[in-house]
Symmetry: C2
Subunit: 220 residues, 2 copies
């Protein structure tokens, strides 16, 4: 599902065994980080991959670089989901995006905290993602599926919140996040006849605040 670029720029291609080990390391990292979180040691990743730590470090100069590689792949995947969601014509694209993002994150739950960290995001991809959210949101509102006072930052918060839920429940209940997401989407709907929740009294986050919040350095 995740495209891996063999090397940033086409330098000399890796030797066959080396390329194979690289793939094994990435797979092992996904598994180990999902099981034990990012605090898992590099030795464990190397062990699961069936290589020595030296090999790991020749391929990825730091643990951070290894994580970045995984995160980069997820970012590309989620951006693809957003682009696909933008094809919907009935205003349901924003919901497709949320579900799709949930599925991707559930499949690779180890690096989610890094995933949404803006500080190291390539600006182009991030900007496109942001504008796609805006487009999808407007489309949903125009179709009457989403209440008009919802903002882009609300959607971002919702994604961030979903991340937290997935991160801590996939292991015990692989699909629990779907239920939670359904309830959150219900919260985005136009208000009912009783008028409860008709007015959102709290102001939405500013973009700057959102940036600051997601840029806050996560541990490890």
């Amino acid at each position: 599902m995740t495209e891996r670029n063999a090397a940033p720029i086409a330098a000399r291609p890796l030797r066959r065994d080396a390329a194979e080990n690289r793939e094994r390391l990435l797979d092992a990292a996904i598994q180990v980080f999902a099981e034990h979180g990012l605090d898992a040691g590099v030795d464990e990743v190397a062990r699961v991959a069936g290589v020595g730590t030296g090999t790991l470090y020749r391929r990825f100069p730091t643990k951070q670089a290894l994580i970045d590689e995984l995160v980069g792949g997820m970012r590309r995947s989620i951006l693809a989901v957003a682009r696909r969601a933008a094809l919907a014509t009935d205003g349901s694209g924003i919901e497709d995006l949320l579900v799709g993002a949930g599925e991707l994150q559930a499949a690779q739950s180890g690096c989610l905290r890094r995933l949404w960290n803006q500080s190291d995001a390539e600006s182009d991809a991030l900007n496109e993602f942001r504008s796609l959210i805006g487009v999808l949101l407007k489309s949903g509102q125009a179709a009457g599926r989403i209440r008009p006072d919802v903002t882009s930052t609300d959607v971002s918060m919702l994604l961030w919140s979903l991340r937290g839920v997935i991160e801590s429940t996939v292991a015990a209940a692989p699909n629990a996040w779907r239920r939670h997401l359904e309830l959150m989407i219900a919260g985005l709907r136009p208000v009912g006849p009783d008028g409860l929740s008709a007015v959102l009294s709290a102001k939405p986050m500013t973009v700057a605040q959102l940036r600051a919040a997601t840029a806050a350095a996560p541990q490890s």
Copy 2:
């Protein structure tokens, strides 16, 4: 706001300066953990408190014990909020609980991950809290403020989700969580006339799954 029991059982009271240092340490811990997360070093806590690390360790046998003390206080506070919410007669108690829990967590955002960790929760308090959630939920549903297919585990998930949002946004946007909570509460309302989101297709978590998810060992 948080009651601190001077010592588990009334052994000999602490010397005056020692008791003072104990308070200073707890205050410093709240501040430091809120700023840098639980990964912050004990030396930093001691430094902010203006004492040596030896003093910290004489009062709290491990870093974990210090954290537990903070968490215990929060648990008592939140239980009190739940009890107070149970006094509401119009079915809005569940919403009061959510808002109250949010406020408490926002005020002390360093140890939230531990806060909801069931594994080390005193069973009595936890059981009471659980049953209070059930009571509040039923009351809200009876009053027509909450859709009937919402379960206790849904509410627990919502609390868990709120935790994640607060943890990472209080610093940058102290009240952003209120907006998010409003939207989530809107999702709990009876469905509107258009019937969108009328049926929750995903099953709720079982209590066992919830237990497993929240018991999952958090890092550090």
